[in-house]
Assembly symmetry: C2
Homo-oligomer: 123 residues x 2
């Protein structure tokens, strides 16, 4: 297992959450029309449906804090990323635990998101 | 997105955790020599290394309780499974939250595990 996939995963997550926390409509270029998002069990497919879901989330301000990230290579240069962390919503005191899984697919010199699965860990 | 992948993912997780909770050495046939496990951030590759890790975990008795499972198709018939749940260890009162990601690869009439990432969510 080379270490390259790990730095790709880390750079992706840093970029993704920075965009998400500043202007999540800017995440559109990361998805394709066959990309899938499962958000709290609800399925969405395609850039438009995914971005509509993400931008319709009711909070005004959000900050992701990553506590662990695991990265593994998949087949054909794909990369799996598993993030555990906390969400701070609208500047509140609560830090909500969440989990997110991405599968990244190489395309030219960059990667797009084929799979995206998000869950809050609310006991 | 067909629904077949969802039932494969559900059947896999049921089988996997039943074996894990009864005799985890029996999980060996699910892995291959190129399979990867990241367990609490520690990487293992290959059936032998993975099973050695799983069987060396210090608890005697464990029960997995799945609280949510998301399943998505990946490329070439592969299937991504994201499980959130709780672990009850050695019959104790504590139910430890965990997350696990699997990528399943079709092989003949069955599937093997290419990717496996496990995390306890200890805040």
């Amino acid at each position: 297992m080379s270490q390259d996939f790990a730095s790709v995963g880390q750079q992706f997550a840093k970029f993704y959450y920075e965009k998400f926390d500043s202007d999540r409509s800017q995440l559109a270029p990361l998805y394709r029309d066959f990309s899938m998002l499962t958000f709290e069990g609800q399925p969405f497919q395609g850039t438009q449906a995914i971005i509509e879901k993400l931008t319709s989330l009711s909070f005004q301000k959000v900050a992701h804090q990553v506590s662990s990230m695991d990265v593994q290579p998949s087949s054909d240069g794909k990369i799996l990323v598993h993030v555990c962390g906390f969400l701070q919503v609208d500047g509140g005191e609560n830090h909500l635990p969440y989990n997110q899984v991405f599968q990244l697919v190489p395309e030219g010199s960059t990667y797009y998101v084929l799979n995206d699965m998000f869950r809050l860990n609310l006991a």
